[in-house]
């Protein structure tokens, strides 16, 4: 052991992590970009370099744009709702009240569930014939006949967004709760002494100080929502009539149903690029915000 120069130790210890991430993340990503410039297909056994042909085909492909818009809408709607509801939850949970521990614990239930189980559960809750949601809404008089939530193009995507909001809002709430707890209590007490109401305190003290946390949490959620796969695959498989097709389910179909790995890689690379742009926009906001506060 002593024979090894001390400068080499850190790299030796980092080596397993580098090897793992290199072979399972960086190499495949680069390989995927390369594949997107080929016509690799497992059916025809083609494997030639075709330049930008896949990307040109992609830009003129209605299913791709259909999936692109659904993904953007899904990301915006679910991240937005999760931030709003998560913030409301965090504001309640940062107050002291009896039973707070139980509520905090219960909040982890949706997060701990496998997404596939969440999907099946929502499939059952929103089942068109025997789902409890239809039963409740019917008895409240909000609908006058059963709605086929996942079977109708008008409601399918909205219901999937709802499932995502259920699953991940608690996580958002936890992140925001930690952010809220870093707001100095003295600041809030002082404002209260001056006669500021709950709303003023929230709007003028808590929210500005919470903004960096909100942006980081929002970024994490947005990138995650953008990749949505399990929920859609299990709940609707992209249907009905492609009304819930997202970029992940579309590339999965191109890859594993048609076995066109070249074109499928172009779809996933385009997705990677869009994701990079989303991250960039958030980072710009974040940097601007941090400059303002410091």
């Amino acid at each position: 052991m002593g024979a090894l120069p001390s400068a080499l130790w850190p790299w030796l210890l980092l080596l397993p992590a580098f090897m793992s991430l290199g072979s399972v993340s960086f190499y495949p990503i680069i390989n995927g970009v390369y594949l997107s410039f080929t016509n690799r297909s497992l059916i025809t056994q083609d494997n030639d370099f075709v330049g930008f042909a896949n990307y040109l085909q992609l830009l003129a492909d209605p299913p791709f744009w259909n999936a692109w818009w659904h993904t953007i809408w899904f990301t915006a709607a679910s991240t937005g709702l999760e931030t709003l509801i998560g913030l409301a939850m965090a504001l309640i949970l940062c107050e002291h009240f009896s039973g707070r521990g139980v509520v905090r614990a219960a909040m982890l239930v949706p997060w701990a569930m496998p997404t596939v189980v969440t999907s099946k559960m929502f499939g059952w809750l929103f089942d068109g014939q025997h789902g409890i949601i239809n039963f409740i809404l019917l008895h409240l008089g909000l609908i006058d006949q059963n709605v086929n939530w996942y079977g109708a193009p008008e409601t399918a995507l909205t219901t999937i967004i709802l499932a995502d909001v259920w699953k991940t809002t608690p996580f958002m709430a936890l992140l925001l709760l930690t952010g809220l707890q870093t707001v100095p209590k003295s600041l809030i007490e002082a404002a209260r002494m001056d006669g500021a109401g709950a709303w003023t305190i929230f709007w003028n003290i808590r929210l500005p100080l919470l903004l960096p946390t909100l942006l980081i949490a929002g970024l994490f959620r947005a990138l995650d929502a953008f990749r949505v796969f399990d929920l859609v695959y299990v709940l609707t498989g992209g249907g009905p009539a492609d009304s819930t097709e997202t970029l992940s389910t579309l590339s999965c179909k191109v890859l594993f149903s048609t076995l066109q790995f070249g074109y499928g890689s172009a779809v996933s690379t385009a997705m990677f690029i869009t994701e990079g742009v989303i991250a960039l926009v958030f980072c710009l906001f974040l940097v601007r915000q941090l400059r303002k506060t410091t």
């Binding site: 052991m1 001390s6 400068a7 850190p10 980092l14 992590a17 793992s20 991430l21 072979s23 399972v24 993340s25 960086f26 190499y27 495949p28 990503i29 390989n31 995927g32 939850m89 309640i92 949970l93 107050e95 002291h96 009240f97 509520v103 905090r104 614990a105 219960a106 909040m107 982890l108 239930v109 949706p110 701990a112 569930m113 496998p114 997404t115 596939v116 189980v117 099946k120 559960m121 059952w124 809750l125 089942d127 025997h130 409890i132 039963f135 936890l174 992140l175 930690t178 209260r192 709950a198 980081i216 990749r227 590339s251 999965c252 594993f256 790995f261 499928g264 997705m271 990677f272 994701e275």
Partner: protein, 278 residues
């Protein structure tokens, strides 16, 4: 704090807390109850939260007809192996970054974290080709190797954050006593980090246990498929066996929920550390 709250505020807080409770636990409780109800009770008349009559037939179907235990075993092997590897590789990396003199360590940390932002669908195609060339399809190994890389960013980040809170004086004292680099990690840092190791291990386990996309792509038979894939395939072409699905869901979720509730304080700290720390 309590003294300065008006009645309206108190009511708002308690109503809000109640709503959070119903929202978070309600759907799961309903599904749990579904798993004990007869198909007839599920499709007829008025739904009831209390199973009446109570039945275990869905659990029987899930295990005996659908072979749920095979999927459970596959998932257990894959998830436990992933957890062990994640902890070993992750703690080596976090230790090197936190305790040894590494140039550009924050750059390295950023690179490691950036991996968790790669869209997994962009990895699955190339990895499938590699796995198929190496003859790794339908093996535990393909999944374990993949899940190790998926779990590493979070594990490394959370462990790094924890190691950073341990005082440096310990290192120096250990060096004085002639403890080597590995000795420092093994005899001193790791034993002191036990709570953090448990949390990160649990996070890695949950990630592997719940993963779906790679398991779907890399496995095709009951000898290697994990639980999420098994449950996704439960649906019959002609009807959806909601009771059986609910039973299988309960089997895979209840142990997780018990674990999570047991370790909740640590998990909340670990998660928020990994998620917010810059």
């Amino acid at each position: 704090m309590n003294g300065s709250r008006s009645i309206v505020q108190s009511v708002t807080i308690y109503v809000g807390a109640l709503l959070i409770l119903i929202w978070s636990a309600g759907p799961f409780l309903w599904q749990f109850s579904t798993s004990f109800q007869l198909d007839k009770a599920l499709t007829e008349g008025t739904p009831s939260l209390i199973p009446h009559p109570f039945t275990l037939e869905h659990y029987y179907n899930a295990f005996v007809e659908k072979g749920l235990h095979h999927y459970v075993l596959n998932s257990l092997i894959v998830s436990l192996a992933t957890t062990a590897l994640c902890l070993i590789v992750g703690s080596l990396a976090a230790f090197a970054l936190s305790r040894l003199d590494v140039k550009g360590r924050f750059g390295i940390l950023m690179v490691i974290l950036s991996v968790s932002m790669f869209p997994q669908i962009a990895l699955v195609g190339p990895l499938y080709l590699i796995a198929s060339e190496l003859g790794l399809l339908d093996t535990y190994r393909a999944l374990i190797i993949t899940y190790l890389a998926l779990g590493l960013p979070l594990v490394t980040w959370v462990l790094f954050g924890y190691f950073e809170t341990l005082p440096r004086e310990i290192d120096e004292a250990a060096r004085m006593d002639g403890v080597g680099v590995i000795g420092l990690l093994w005899y001193i840092i790791l034993p002191m980090s036990l709570p953090s190791l448990v949390t990160t291990g649990l996070l890695a386990f949950i990630t592997a246990w719940n993963e779906f996309l790679f398991a779907l792509a890399f496995t095709s038979d009951i000898d290697s498929q994990t639980i999420p894939v098994g449950i996704a395939n439960f649906t019959n072409q002609y009807y959806v066996p909601w009771g059986d699905i609910a039973a299988a869901s309960a089997v895979v979720t209840v142990p997780l929920i018990v674990l999570v509730l047991f370790f909740q304080r640590h998990i909340i700290e670990g998660l928020t550390q990994g998620g917010i720390k810059e």
